[in-house]
Symmetry: C2
Subunit: 136 residues, 2 copies
């Protein structure tokens, strides 16, 4: 049995976040001691690790909820899990592509000579989109 603090240490999920997950129904309310403190089992630890991992990979809490639901029914086909993962991968790729375009643009405009603000490429570019060389 782990206290909430021990569980936090073992999973890397912060204590208030664990309580938050319980509040929104992502994890079940655990047993309590006579003094009303939460005590977690190995199963609770595993579920929270799963959640942590899913969040680390950038999935939303909603996606994570669906993964948890799916992993509770190991006899069904895993198409749904793949659908979620594939959808997320597409979003991720778009995000990367966009960020890389932004990177290029930002690099271009932020490496000018330091001078007076009236000639600052950063501010000029923000003021006039037509100065941009890439799409965004």
């Amino acid at each position: 049995m782990y206290s909430i603090g021990q569980l936090a240490d073992k999973t890397g999920v912060k204590v208030p976040t664990i309580r938050y997950y319980e509040q929104i129904g992502l994890i079940a309310p655990p047993e309590r001691t006579a003094g009303n403190q939460r005590r977690y089992t190995l199963a609770g630890f595993q579920r929270l690790s799963f959640i942590r991992h899913s969040r680390d990979l950038g999935f939303s809490l909603q996606d994570t909820r669906e993964f948890l639901e799916l992993s509770g029914h190991p006899d069904q086909k895993c198409d749904d899990a793949h659908k979620i993962a594939t959808r997320h991968l597409a979003v991720l790729r778009q995000k990367i592509a966009k960020l890389m375009r932004l990177e290029a643009e930002l690099e271009r405009i932020s490496c000018c000579e330091s001078g007076k603000l009236g000639d600052c490429a950063v501010l000029e570019t923000l003021a006039d989109h037509s100065l941009c060389k890439t799409d965004h």
Copy 2:
């Protein structure tokens, strides 16, 4: 003079968002018609375009606020503007690197054969971090 809807169309910023920006003091309250409707000038349009552009480049509202402040004093050195942009560029690069690691991992685990959930690589990997091939 533009109505709020026309301004929204011209800048690509949604109507409620424009009102929100006014509320948080990012743009000044514009003049009103006798019937209490907002009417924007060219200067209002330019300021909102500047904001939109800054947001498009991924800057926070706080960064954007600082850019606006700086662009109001064109006689000062633009070091500050560059500092903000450079800081943002570093954050952006970290974000891209992390997303690319996630992409690799997600690609690896989501391209398995569709079978039973008990053997689903997506769910298995989420449950057991040691199955991951990359850092995240």
